[in-house]
């Protein structure tokens, strides 16, 4: 048998539903004195599954605590059957789990999974070039109106419709966990990394609107002030207050 053909057979076996190797694959193998070829292949078959699940148990520890052992195990079995790994690193195995859960129609659970995955993304995202208060202090006055800002690579923007952040926080802190419930109003949650520590914060609606304008709609600082003019008496003061907070929290980099 050609090398590639044999490897395709092994791959199909490892990813397949049947733990017993096909007869022609077995024919291509030799057992040892006490370990026969079928049991030898089973070691690889089981290792693939246990490695897959071990990674997801670590990446989704909150989801595991929320669902309980049996239900989480069933979720992993279903995910494992439907998912193939296409990245060299096991780190990315869980990337599609939130979407997989969403397909089943459980929006609240999918959102909790998104929150947990967002923490893994924030954890090892590139540093970017954080804007500092010192940068702002030395920014020439004429540069302020055209100032454009973006989120640093670690910042994950989540539009939450459920109390996922409360669930995540209480499970992490081993406190009494509230029931899953929809929020009265959808809220934006930011998850990011500052000084190697991951952080999160729910934004007030007005702040979320302003930050969305700056980092997603491409507003300049002058446009932010203009938009704010309809709602507040001193737009530059409010804009500068928010800007100072976002920069202090390590959320922003300069764009353009």
């Amino acid at each position: 048998m050609r090398l590639t053909e044999w490897q395709c057979q092994v791959e199909a076996y490892l990813l397949g539903a049947e733990a017993a190797p096909a007869a022609d694959l077995l024919d291509s193998l030799r057992g040892g004195p006490t370990l026969n070829a079928e049991d030898g292949m089973l070691i690889y078959y089981n290792a693939y599954r246990s490695r897959f699940k071990e990674v997801l148990r670590e990446d989704y520890a909150v989801l595991l605590a929320w669902l309980g052992e049996d239900e989480f195990e069933q979720l992993l079995d279903d995910y494992l059957h439907s998912t193939r790994s296409d990245h060299f690193s096991l780190r990315w195995l869980g990337a599609r789990l939130p979407a997989f859960i969403e397909q089943s129609g459980d929006g609240a659970l999918a959102e909790l999974a998104k929150v947990e995955w967002a923490f893994t993304l924030a954890f090892d995202a590139p540093q970017g070039e954080p804007l500092t208060l010192q940068d702002m202090a030395t920014l020439p006055a004429e540069a302020w109106p055209a100032l454009r800002l973006g989120l640093l690579p670690s910042v994950q923007w989540l539009n939450c419709r459920h109390n996922s952040m409360a669930l995540w926080r209480t499970i992490k802190n081993e406190q009494d966990v509230p029931a899953s419930a929809p929020l009265d109003n959808p809220a934006v949650c930011l998850i990011w990394r500052l000084d190697l520590v991951t952080r999160f914060r729910l934004l007030e609606p007005s702040e979320a609107w302003a930050l969305d304008g700056m980092v997603h709609q491409g507003w300049t600082f002058a446009q932010l002030c203009e938009e704010l003019g309809a709602f507040v008496e001193a737009p530059p003061v409010q804009a500068a207050t928010w800007l100072k907070q976002w920069i202090s929290e390590g959320l922003l980099q300069r764009e353009g």
Partner: protein
């Protein structure tokens, strides 16, 4: 190609469980081996500790995803990332495994054994040359633990490794525990493997623990090195002289002090076999 790398002494695998302790206590470890894939990320804690520990200790990069014998074309993106990491880490050398870990369509995330045939040799040799061209240094390849062999193999594993070094100039990472595990599972004498390897191609040794399931041994890296593997290590040193040695632990992490004690056992054994000069990195 780079100049011949030095004898580094006795090292440990760098694992996140020990990051802070290493920086705070500066343990008596000559060098650390880092799993390359753990650091092929954008930023964060892993890269922070890699840089900080790399300032204080020599490092070697050890990969698990090269899939040097795989059916799929070599992952150019992975290779470029690996090369960039070598520029950051400046490792004494770069190793991976003689195996395949990616199938024709998908990642399999395991160190799967190859048939040891002329066809495999040609296939792997061509890919080793491609990798060496990208990395601009000899690749160091490790023998894996295995649980099946193919019926059509025309080489033994050690003949295959030897032929591969001759064909490509690559070097070998001899995992003494893997030899022991595979020898048990396939019924050959471990010394037949080790004694047949070329004296001048073994760049590094691995020591690790395995699990004994009665009818088979599984390479779990989750417990101390067993006595027969220590004995095999001693014979290996007697044959090869001082070789850079690494103690691997990937699960059931004990306190660092326990690993240091086990590493001391390797040093002491080497000093007994080879004299005190073998302790100097």
């Amino acid at each position: 190609m780079a100049a011949t790398p030095p004898f580094l002494g006795y090292g440990l695998g760098l694992r996140s469980a020990y990051y802070s302790e290493i920086l705070e206590q500066r343990p008596p470890v000559d060098w650390f081996e880092v799993v390359s894939e753990n650091y092929l990320v954008g930023g964060g804690k892993a890269l922070y500790f890699l840089d900080a520990i790399g300032e204080q200790y020599p490092l070697v990069m050890h990969g698990v995803s090269l899939s040097i014998g795989g059916p799929h074309p070599l992952d150019r993106d992975y290779l470029q990332q690996l090369k960039q990491l070598t520029e950051r880490v400046n490792p004494a050398w770069v190793s991976d495994h003689l195996c395949w870990s990616r199938g024709n369509a998908h990642q399999l995330h395991d160190l799967l054994p190859l048939p040891y045939t002329e066809e495999s040799l040609e296939h792997v040799a061509s890919r080793v040359r491609q990798v060496q061209d990208v990395l601009q240094r000899p690749l160091v390849l490790e023998n894996v633990s295995s649980y099946v062999r193919t019926a059509d193999s025309t080489f033994t594993e050690w003949e295959f490794l030897t032929a591969l070094t001759e064909a490509t100039g690559c070097e070998l990472l001899l995992d003494v525990n893997n030899v022991y595990v595979s020898a048990f599972n396939h019924g050959f004498e471990p010394w037949d493997f080790i004694s047949a390897l070329p004296l001048d191609r073994v760049r590094q040794l691995h020591l690790a623990g395995h699990s004994d399931y009665g009818n088979c041994l599984i390479d779990t890296h989750d417990q101390p090195v067993c006595d027969p593997v220590w004995q095999l290590y001693q014979r290996t040193l007697e044959r090869f002289g001082p070789v850079t040695t690494l103690l691997e632990r990937d699960d059931h992490f004990p306190p660092l002090a326990e690993l240091l004690e086990e590493l001391l056992k390797a040093r002491t054994l080497a000093a007994t076999v080879l004299g005190k000069e073998s302790l100097c990195a």
